[in-house]
C-alpha cells in the first residue's frame, strides 16, 4: 500500500535526522507511482501531485513522527475532495417526465444501468426506451430486463434510426403520464463522428434532465481521451461508474473527474438489477490508494 511504501522510503531518509523538503520529493514519487498503478491517467497524476506538493512538503509533515501517514492523509483528503466534486443525487425535472439519457463506449454497462435505474425509480412509473438499434439483440436485452422488473419498454426495429424511437418514447411518456423516461443508446467510440452526431441528435430531440456517461471502472489511461471527447461533444450532466464489484483500482474515476469535473452520481456494483448504489467518494479514494 502507499502508506507502507512511504514508510519504507521515509524510514531510510529519517535515519539521517529531520526530513527535508528534498526528502519529501521521494514521497511524491511514491504517490505518483501508486496513482499510475491505479490507472489514474498521467496528466491527471501530474496535476494531482502538484496540487498536494505544497501541503506534502509543509511543516506538519516534516515535523511529524509519522510523515508517511501524514502524507497519505493529505493525498486521501485531496482524492476525496476531487472525487466528491459537485457530488449530488439524481436530478428530477420540474415537471414529469424526468428524461435520463445514457451514453458511453461499447460494453460499459449502459443497458444494464438503464434497467437498474428504472428499478430504483419504480414508484415513479418509469418508461425504458431501447434506442440501440445497432447491436444484435440489444432491444431484446432491454425488453427482457424490463419484463423482469415490470417496466414498459419502447423499442425500435433493428438498424433503424434511433431518433424517431426516442421521440416516440418521449411522446408516450408525456401522454401516458410516466414519471421518468430512461433512454438506452448504442455503445459508440468517442472518435466516431457519425455516431457522436447521432447521440447529439438523440439528446437534442429529447432534451434530457440528465445525460450520464457510463464508464467502465477498469478503464485505463484512455479514460482521459474518452471522458473529454464525450464531455465536449455531448455535454453530459454526470457519470456512472460500472463493474466496481471487480478488483480494478478504478483510477479512471479520478481521470474522469480531473478532466471534466463531472459528478459521479451512481456506482454499479454487480450484474443483478439491485446492484446500483450512490457513489461514495471516500470509498473510491481508499480503493484508488490501495
Amino acid at each position: 500500500s502507499l502508506s507502507e511504501r512511504l514508510e519504507t522510503a521515509f524510514g531510510r531518509l529519517r535515519r539521517k535526522g529531520k526530513l527535508t523538503k528534498a526528502d519529501v520529493e521521494e514521497g511524491l514519487k511514491e504517490i505518483r507511482l501508486a496513482l499510475l498503478e491505479a490507472d489514474v491517467a498521467l496528466p491527471v497524476v501530474r496535476d494531482f501531485v502538484e496540487r498536494v506538493r505544497e501541503e506534502a512538503v509543509g511543516e506538519k509533515v516534516l515535523r511529524s513522527l509519522t510523515p508517511g501517514q501524514q502524507i497519505v492523509k493529505v493525498v486521501n483528503d485531496e482524492l476525496v475532495r476531487m472525487l466528491g466534486t459537485n457530488n449530488r443525487e439524481l436530478r428530477f425535472a420540474d415537471a414529469p417526465p424526468t428524461v435520463i439519457l445514457l451514453v458511453g463506449l461499447q460494453g460499459s454497462g449502459k443497458t444494464t444501468v438503464a434497467a437498474k435505474l428504472a428499478n430504483q425509480l419504480k414508484d415513479r412509473k418509469p418508461l425504458l426506451a431501447a434506442c440501440d438499434l445497432q447491436r444484435p439483440g440489444a432491444v431484446e436485452q432491454l425488453r427482457q430486463l424490463g419484463a423482469q422488473i415490470g417496466v414498459d419498454v419502447e423499442g425500435g426495429e433493428p438498424n433503424g434510426d434511433p431518433i424517431p424511437v426516442a421521440k416516440r418514447a418521449l411522446n408516450k411518456a408525456v401522454t401516458e403520464n410516466y414519471g421518468v423516461l430512461i433512454v438506452d443508446s448504442a455503445g459508440r467510440l468517442a472518435v466516431d463522428e457519425e455516431l457522436m452526431a447521432q447521440a447529439r441528435a438523440i439528446k437534442d430531440a429529447i432534451r434530457p434532465t440528465e445525460t450520464f456517461l457510463v464508464l467502465d471502472s477498469m478503464t485505463g489511461q484512455d479514460a482521459v481521451q474518452t471522458a473529454s471527447a464525450f464531455n465536449e461533444k455531448l455535454e453530459p450532466t454526470g457519470a456512472i461508474l460500472t463493474k466496481l464489484d471487480g478488483d480494478a483500482r478504478g483510477g479512471a474515476a479520478l481521470s474522469l473527474v480531473g478532466v471534466t469535473g463531472l459528478p459521479i452520481v451512481f456506482a454499479a456494483i454487480g450484474e443483478r438489477i439491485e446492484d446500483l448504489e450512490a457513489f461514495y467518494p471516500d470509498r473510491m479514494a481508499s480503493r484508488i490508494l490501495g
Binding site: Q141, Q221, D222, A248
Partner: protein
C-alpha cells in the same frame, strides 16, 4: 549526421511516460526504458526507433496462429470479463473460419445474461452458421455437451463456444467456467484447440489480473485484443504477453463480422509509440 547527440535523461523519461500512457504499465515501461538506458551507441535520433525495435523483438517469438487439429473436431472457448467483446469476437472468428472453407458451429453457453442467446443466434442467422442453444438458465456445460454432439454429427471442423462475461474475482463464476472446461475435456474425441481470453483495449492494469486468473482457471492459450479501433492503444496486451507469455492471436477493430485482423507486432508498436 555522424555525430549524434547522446539521448538526454529527459528523452528516456519521455519514452517511459509515453509507454505508461499507452497502458503498458509502470513496471514494463521502466523495464523497457532501463534496457535502453543501459545500451551503448544510442542517439537522441535513434532512440525512438530502438524502443520500437526492442518491443517488436519481444513480440516476435510468439506463435500467433489460431490452432486447428486435423481430423478431429476443434473446439475454441472464448472467455473474459463482462462486456469485453466475446460474443462479437466469436461472430468474427466464425465468419473468418467459414470464409476459409471450414465447417463451423457455435455454442451459446452464456445462459445467464439477458438476451445473450438471442444475440449469438442473430449472428448465426446473419452468417449462416448453426448456433446450438438451450436458452437462458440452462446449464452451460449441458449446452456445450449438446453442441459437441451436434458438431460431431454434422461432421464439422470447428466449434466455437461463447461463455458468460464473468469477473475473475467471483469464485463461483470461475468454478462454473472450470466445470464447462471439464465437460470438454471429458470428450476424448474432440480437441480443445484454443481458450481465447478477450481483453478490451481500453482496459488498464486490471487486464493483468484478469489474464492471470483466467489462465489459472482455464489455461488460456491466446488473447484477442478487442476495440483497438478506439483511441486506446491497448498497451495492456503487451504487458500481459510479457508477463504471462500468452500471445495475442487476433485484434478486433470494429463491430462488424469482418472487423477482425491478425495481430501485427510492427503496426501495433508503431501505433502505440506513435
Amino acid at each position: 549526421d555522424v555525430f549524434g547527440m547522446d539521448p538526454t535523461p529527459e528523452a528516456f523519461d519521455r519514452l517511459e511516460e509515453l509507454l505508461v500512457s499507452a497502458d503498458v504499465g509502470v513496471a514494463t515501461a521502466t523495464a523497457l526504458a532501463d534496457d535502453l538506458r543501459s545500451r551503448e551507441g544510442l542517439t537522441q535520433e535513434t532512440l525512438p526507433g530502438a524502443l520500437r525495435d526492442a518491443m517488436v523483438e519481444q513480440l516476435s517469438k510468439a506463435d500467433r496462429r489460431l490452432r486447428l487439429v486435423k481430423g478431429r473436431l476443434s473446439i475454441w472457448v472464448v472467455v473474459g470479463v463482462n462486456g469485453t467483446g466475446k460474443t462479437t469476437t466469436i461472430a468474427k472468428l466464425a465468419n473468418r473460419a467459414k470464409s476459409l472453407g471450414l465447417k463451423v458451429s457455435l455454442a451459446a453457453a452464456d445462459t445467464f445474461r439477458a438476451a445473450a442467446v438471442e444475440q449469438l443466434s442473430e449472428w448465426g442467422r446473419r452468417l449462416g452458421i448453426d448456433v446450438v442453444h438451450q436458452g437462458q438458465g440452462a446449464d452451460p456445460g449441458a449446452v456445450v455437451f449438446d453442441a459437441i454432439a451436434h458438431a460431431r454429427a454434422q461432421g464439422y471442423d470447428l466449434l466455437v463456444v461463447d461463455t458468460a462475461g464473468r469477473l475473475h474475482t467471483k469464485k463461483p463464476l470461475m468454478d462454473e467456467l472450470q466445470k464447462v472446461m471439464r465437460v470438454i475435456a471429458r470428450d476424448t474425441d474432440a480437441a480443445l484447440a484454443e481458450v481465447l481470453l478477450v481483453i478490451d483495449a481500453t482496459t488498464g492494469q486490471n487486464g493483468i489480473a484478469q489474464a492471470k486468473a483466467f489462465k489459472e482457471a482455464a489455461n488460456v492459450s491466446g488473447l484477442v485484443l478487442a476495440k483497438l479501433d478506439g483511441t486506446a492503444k491497448g498497451g495492456i496486451a503487451f504487458a500481459v504477453e510479457r508477463e504471462l507469455e500468452v500471445p495475442v492471436k487476433a485484434v478486433g477493430v470494429g463491430e462488424q463480422a469482418s472487423d477482425l485482423v491478425p495481430f501485427e507486432p510492427q503496426a501495433y508498436v508503431d501505433a502505440l509509440v506513435g
